[in-house]
């Protein structure tokens, strides 16, 4: 009986003393929009759908993003894992278990679009709100494409 009680106590401690895991979770909500909309989006070369797209991605992985739209240049970028400041909470509150658990769950990371010299890649803008990541990608017109007409909605 004592062993069971100890196991329950230990499990509760393990589950409730990881700062970043509690605050941020092991996944991050990422919303991707594009200008113009309806671009086909691939994450790690897997077709996800057309923009705007919302995905709950694991924080401990890096992702490759590719956007394709007819008449526009293919846009490639990455989602990189960066340090999540909530992890410092473990030090502030003395949570040794949190220091171990947060890296395991991936909560010590947060996803951010790739940066070049400290700035987002050209064409990418983003903001973070309530832990959610909102990315907007502007696609450039493909100089090799030629407009031959436009469909209009019949009245």
């Amino acid at each position: 009986m004592k062993i069971i009680l100890r196991t329950i106590l230990l499990s509760s401690i393990l589950l409730t003393t990881s700062c970043a895991t509690i605050i941020s979770g092991s996944r991050q909500n990422v919303e991707i929009t594009s200008e113009p909309t309806s671009a086909k989006i691939y994450i790690n070369e897997i077709e996800i759908g057309n923009t705007p797209v919302q995905k709950n991605l694991k924080r401990n992985q890096e992702y490759q993003l590719v956007l394709k739209l007819d008449g526009y240049e293919t846009y490639e970028t990455k989602l990189e894992k960066k340090f999540n400041a909530w992890y410092i909470g473990n030090i502030a509150f003395g949570g040794l278990i949190g220091i171990i658990i947060d890296p395991i769950t991936g909560a010590m990371h947060k996803l951010k679009p790739e940066e070049i010299d400290g700035n987002p890649k050209s064409g990418t803008t983003y903001k973070t709100e309530g832990g959610n990541l909102f990315i907007k990608i502007s696609l450039d017109i493909d100089p090799n494409s030629e407009k031959i007409g436009q469909l209009e909605k019949a009245e």
Binding site: E45, N60, Q61, P103, I104, T105, G106
Partner: protein, 130 residues
């Protein structure tokens, strides 16, 4: 003594629940890099390798540390990145160890090949987002 027991417990927890894919690579015949538009076939153990392929190299994913990014999908994604860098369009899993008591990671031995046919038409593993 109590301190020792605690330390041992933590080390055991870390040892059993954390892992990192250590990648060992050996490229014997690297080819020009493939573009993002060229497809790469991911062949699992049960998928057959087509005839007339050229071997580019080997990859080995092992468990060795403190990362948790070592699911099958994640390792195959990393293998595909390595394949693309070295001009291979087939990633063939030749040995696969699933997570067990000793490791929470997949451990894979992979061979990379260049195939002149259409890699996308081969029966293959369909990658998923974890």
């Amino acid at each position: 003594m109590k301190q020792m027991t605690k330390m041992l417990f933590f080390i055991t927890v870390i040892g059993l629940t954390s892992c990192s894919p250590k990648i060992t690579s050996n490229f014997t015949n690297s080819q020009p890099k493939l573009s993002i538009d060229e497809s790469i076939a991911l062949l699992d153990i049960e998928h057959k390798l087509p005839e007339s392929v050229t071997k580019i190299g080997d990859l080995r994913f092992q468990d060795s540390g403190f990362s948790t990014d070592c699911s099958f999908n994640s390792l195959m994604t990393q293998a595909r990145i390595e394949a693309r860098k070295n001009g291979a369009n087939i990633v063939k899993v030749v040995d696969k160890k699933t997570p067990d008591l000793w490791s929470s990671c997949y451990r894979l031995k992979i061979e990379l090949y260049k195939y002149d046919g259409d890699a996308s038409s081969l029966p293959q593993y369909e990658l998923k987002l974890d």
